[in-house]
Amino acid sequence: MKRKHSFIGLEHLSASYAYKLPLNYRKLEYRSIDAKEEPVLDTYNKLIDGVTPLTGSSRLVSKMVDLRRLRVSNNVTEEANENVYDQLIYARLDENLSKPFYLYTCCFVTEGAERSLLIDTQREEFYFIPNVLAGILKAQQDLAEKKKPLCSFNDLVKQYGEENAVYLKQYFEFLLENQLIFFLEFGWEAVAFPKVDTTKYISAPLIEHVIADIDSHSTYSIEDDLFPQLLEIGCQYLEIRFFQKVVFQKDLQFLSRLANTLVKSVELVLPYNKWGAASNIKISREDYPWLSKLSFYNAPFDKLYLAKQSSDITLLYTTENLVSASHCGKINKWTFSGNLPMITLNSNHNSCLHKSLGIDVQGRIKNCPSMANSFGDIRADSLKVIASKDSFQSKWAITKDQIDTCKICEFRQICSDCRAFTKNNELKGKPAKCGYDPYTMKWED
């Protein structure tokens, strides 16, 4: 055989050899070593004896900054999205009028006082929908759970009357455009797609989040008093809030000692100073592999630079002067998390305090640094012993359906709550710094 070949990866082989190989050897496909093209920040963790990626929590650690005022920079999503939507293939209503419709079970419907929220946990999108549509979707879910025959679009038209067909059609167009529902083809499919089990929230650590506050009067040491205890409680996400001047490198060197913990990422809240300007910041990833976010308060401007790739650090600048833990607990739409762990957490526990622990500026061990009740002192007591106590965990059980106003709010499954500052200081009062009224559907300051 005299012919030549141009098979990628087989250049060193003769054509007579290459053509005798299995057919798919001629069609080698490009594979980057990692599935992602961006550099991924991995760190070797000697406790796990494995390489772990920098990962953020599925919910906010603290809620210090009023995120509404921030302009987002480096946001690449809009441009990219257009191409992506081009290739999506949509189901058509007119071809599926008499087939049962089914909400993808990764989507959750929360009925509010005046409107409902449809949460797409997979794509982390929220949609406001009228309560009528929420009712339709919920009724269908109930039928599926009770293993009763499911409705089709045509059944709905019969049920709601021809005069409403035009509105039903609009609803379905919205649902199909966003790939929120699909149509069942076979009888057995009606019992094949169970809803996601959100009745149990499980995670490895005793305490997921630790917030540690420090100011110029603090006499405890984060490095010597807190860090040696982090492993015992399994802490994965750490936020340190400095209410005092911070000198870069000198004051942050101790972060390298996190190598002996299971911490996956660290966020710092600190006063702005010159080295903190985005153009000046030079942080060596080798020295600070867990650092995921720096929030500078008292800055000359308001801006948020989102990390474009995992080797970047998210930089946040706010003109607010966040001088103490009393600034925490701000609830607004930026503090929502629409992922599955968050929804599971909110269904079973308090999403602000569950598996969280705070050390206040005096070194007192609390559910959160902004709360009054102290359970001990970081210098004298074991975090593990304290965090295991029923008294420490008692507020973990306050779910949204026990909280005034929140229980009829459409955001209750994705909201991160705040138990430190509540209306009239009540244990089960609405977060005092939440300006949302589910009856008027308006946000107020």
Partner: protein, 354 residues
């Protein structure tokens, strides 16, 4: 002096895996938080070696034991210190073959001399000796109280044998032809109206070119491909291209099956292979329950293959048929665990740690 109770001696967990396997990391996090000491977890990452220090077959079975040492090289770019962990077979309460290899040090004890043709014979025999030793050690590890899969089963896993077993238990499989003849390939192509794929019989070929990597995958067969085939060639697998309504990825764990449906057909990018992930608008992955008949047959199949845990792939066709594709003894299950809220890493840790 009375012997120590077995539970006190046997408390270590030995895991064969890769250093960057996040599933292993998460299982270890669960183990650490439920009381297992870091020192009692011995992780052998691919690339690190394990040395057999001694293996004594005593005159009575009680006295037989082996001592190993794992030589770890820190992966951190900042430090290159290595350390050594010694453990005895009798100290193990659990063994998990997650991924990787039992990288037993053998030939590298010898100085690296260029072998002559005659020396090649020596190294070939030595290599077979190592294989025999490794195979026996694998058997020993399988007898650890809590064993979860093993190297031999994972490496012997053969995709065509799986297809045959699947068919025998009554699962549908895509019609598959392995041939060395162009004429046969052509007839098969015509029989399925040109809807064929080709893939490796059991393995992927990965070719590194500088920093780039190229690999074989699953390819659609075109008419021109058949034309360009020589009359005879290396045994090649052709398979009917099954149309998909959605795909099923299942994780089998000691008789339980956890599944998700992957709606890869709603996106042109993932239509042929859902691993061409679309990060912006990911495929819908939702919990799925295998119909009872399929579930029973699947459990039968996995039991025949002798696996404790594995990943299984199915297709549901537009006409509602279930087609079995393959079993992966060391498959990823994070992608089943997370969207299904199944907490599979916790289940694995509970099994190993108890």
């Amino acid at each position: 002096m009375p012997d120590l109770p077995q539970a006190l001696i046997s408390r270590k967990i030995f895991i064969n895996t890769l250093s960057y396997d996040e599933t292993t990391n998460e299982v270890i996090r669960y183990l650490l938080s439920s009381g297992t000491k870091s020192a009692d977890i011995i992780r052998l990452n691919l690339g690190n070696t394990i040395e057999l220090n001694t293996y004594l077959l005593g005159t009575n079975q009680e006295k037989s034991d082996a001592e190993f040492q794992v030589n770890k090289t820190n992966q951190s770019p900042a430090s290159s210190n290595s350390n050594t962990t010694k453990f005895k077979l009798s100290e193990l309460k659990a063994y998990w073959f997650r991924k990787g290899d039992l990288g037993l040090k053998a030939l590298s004890y010898l100085p690296n001399e260029l072998p002559s043709q005659q020396d090649k014979n020596i190294s070939q025999v030595l290599d077979r000796e190592k294989k025999a030793l490794k195979s026996h050690l694998n058997n020993c590890l399988t007898n650890v109280p809590k064993a979860l899969d093993n190297l031999t089963l994972a490496q012997d896993s053969n995709k065509i044998t799986q297809l045959e077993f699947a068919q025998k238990v009554g699962l549908q499989i895509p019609e598959t032809l392995i041939t060395t003849k162009r004429q046969e390939a052509l007839m098969f192509f015509k029989k399925h109206q040109g809807k064929l794929i080709t893939k490796g019989i059991n393995e992927l070929l990965v070719v590194a070119k500088g920093i780039d990597h190229y690999a074989t995958g699953t390819n659609k067969v075109k008419a021109s491909d058949i034309q360009l085939l020589p009359d005879s060639f290396y045994p090649t697998l052709f398979q009917k291209l099954e149309e998909k309504r959605y795909e099923i990825r299942s994780f089998y764990f000691f008789g339980e099956i956890y599944s998700i449906a992957i709606f890869s057909q709603e996106d042109a990018q993932t239509k042929i292979d859902f691993r061409n992930y679309n990060d912006q608008t990911p495929n819908r992955n939702i919990p799925f329950i295998l119909p009872n008949g399929i579930k029973e047959k699947t459990i039968q199949l996995v039991k025949q293959l002798g696996l404790d845990s594995c990943s299984l792939d199915f297709i549901v066709t537009p006409t509602g048929e279930f087609i079995f594709l393959e079993v992966n003894p060391v498959g990823q299950f994070g992608m089943v665990s997370y969207p299904g809220n199944y907490y599979l890493e916790n289940k694995v840790a509970e099994y190993l740690g108890k």
